[in-house]
Symmetry: C2
Subunit: 344 residues, 2 copies
Amino acid sequence: MRVTLRDVAERAGVSPMAVSAVLNGSGSRKVTVTAEKAERIRQAALDLRYQRNSMASAFRQGRTNQVAVVFQNFGRFILRSTYRADVMNGVMEALFPHDYTLSLCPKLMRSGDAEFISDGRFDGILWCRPDLSEASANTLQHASVPIVMMHAPPGTVLGVPTFCADNDGAMRRAVSHLISLGHERIAFVIDPVSEHSVEGHARADALQGAARRAGLPDPETIILTRDHSVLGRYAEPGAPHTALVCFSDELAGFVLESCERFGVKVPDHISVIGFDSSPLCETTTPRLTSVNQPVERMAFDATSHLLSLIRSSEGGEQAAASTSTLYDCQLDVRDSTGPACSYL
Amino acid sequence: MRVTLRDVAERAGVSPMAVSAVLNGSGSRKVTVTAEKAERIRQAALDLRYQRNSMASAFRQGRTNQVAVVFQNFGRFILRSTYRADVMNGVMEALFPHDYTLSLCPKLMRSGDAEFISDGRFDGILWCRPDLSEASANTLQHASVPIVMMHAPPGTVLGVPTFCADNDGAMRRAVSHLISLGHERIAFVIDPVSEHSVEGHARADALQGAARRAGLPDPETIILTRDHSVLGRYAEPGAPHTALVCFSDELAGFVLESCERFGVKVPDHISVIGFDSSPLCETTTPRLTSVNQPVERMAFDATSHLLSLIRSSEGGEQAAASTSTLYDCQLDVRDSTGPACSYL
DNA sequence: TTGAAAGCGTTACCAT
DNA sequence: ATGGTAACGCTTTCAA
């Protein structure tokens, strides 16, 4: 049979509560046992090979010391992109020193509903799903555990702090770089999945805003499906754009590959900019100019903030006004951008 | 206040037990409620916005639907190596379809003791720490939850199934490849950390066995500390070896870098073989010949087996004799191995 | 088929 | 400073 607190208490000749206080850090009050008694208790626990029942404790205290990270695509580390690994590293760095366990929960990853976020298994949630549905936004807003979002513009969900790239600043940098190279007609390229994400819209809007401010025509948005043949036009005179700003490095990588296939020369015919400045940028041909997003630091900050929310919510404090953090994003200029094509 | 089963039961005019059966899948018995009543219950739950308390349930049932993965080095995804991501992918692939949550628990990652493995938070443990101490081996053996190990030769811990590379076969392949290139004097290179791992010893032994069987002299083991100057000798005549078999790709990568620094030409002066055949092999100069270890599949298999152990242990069955699986490892020949240097 | 009641092991509260 | 007691929310047995 399982050895319980009671057994230990009995053997040590003390009350269960004393054992709890000594062995399990004494929940709230200070330790209230003499050193001698504490030693006896510890010895008894050792003799009996006492193992605490964490579930009983978690149940009683309403705390699990677990934080869940919710990614978008079910869950697979994509070797082409370091994004997930970056996030995980930042999260672990924030959690582990405080002995919080990091969990990946399939129920939370699955599409639609965020139905299970408040079922008590997690003390807090780091929400990394930019594909926010109306339904889950609502669930997030009324959740009974602290939540922090990444990759969503401030105010996306009322009361939920966000940690997000400064898309406006990023796009201003991109546009300014392109202008300095003589570009005027720019397009935003996005994949059909990201197109529906909050950040997809945010970046499209940001690029538009930056272009307008610079006196350029409104950038067209190209939703790039499996068929990339639309890129073929950039090899010929009269192409509608001289520069493409892509939603992600991964997408930009595909664009580069397709351009090569269609005989479109980058950056001679068209300039291409990615987003994330991941290691992938160094391996493409040509090397990819990209906006640098400090993913790991964002994840670390977001998680640290989440921990502080957890602590204060346990103190019974009411949540303060939700803060949001924007991250300045530099443009890492590599070889995929160059002077605007002159013969179009 | 929290909405409990009782509240729902009250509103629906039924007993808490009925609600439990309908909403939470009815633990053991079949559903014992009429459709009409079930509907009423569901409606009541919806009205009251009932949220199950997972901790209470887990506590009661002694099941958490969580599996922990324990890595060696505290926890950081190393971008240079895809090992951790590979493991995680295999694990997720096995767990998620069955709705098991994957947890990374710092307390388990920290050095020494495996003190917390049986505290009820996890239904099973995937142990990926080759650095097995006597103490934790003992803890693992007497744990009250199912455990499965990776990267440990069969029988490393009594009763714990292992999923491991077939190091003997791998080394036989490596030696045979080297012999075909005219090599005779081989060394095994390992870092000071892995040197203490079970698999470190296993591979050293395997290489020795393979060399002996082939009639070669016993391979020396070189423990490579921070100072790689020992590699310098391979640029000069009279070097003691013509081929180095390294414990890991990462280590082999460092060896290649140091060789370049010391003017040692690979593979002209010395041949180098790595272990894992990770993407890193394609990016080194020269491209690294390496033993291919199917990490993701190993992790998948190990996790699937763990799940089956969990299921049978919940059925109250006694654990069968522990099975162990060895994985055949091909040698991926790239450019870091060549004919044995003739002028030494 | 349904309901009542008894715990699961721990911690919080309130006496002493 | 210490110990008794109750309660957390659920599931399971047992009786109806």
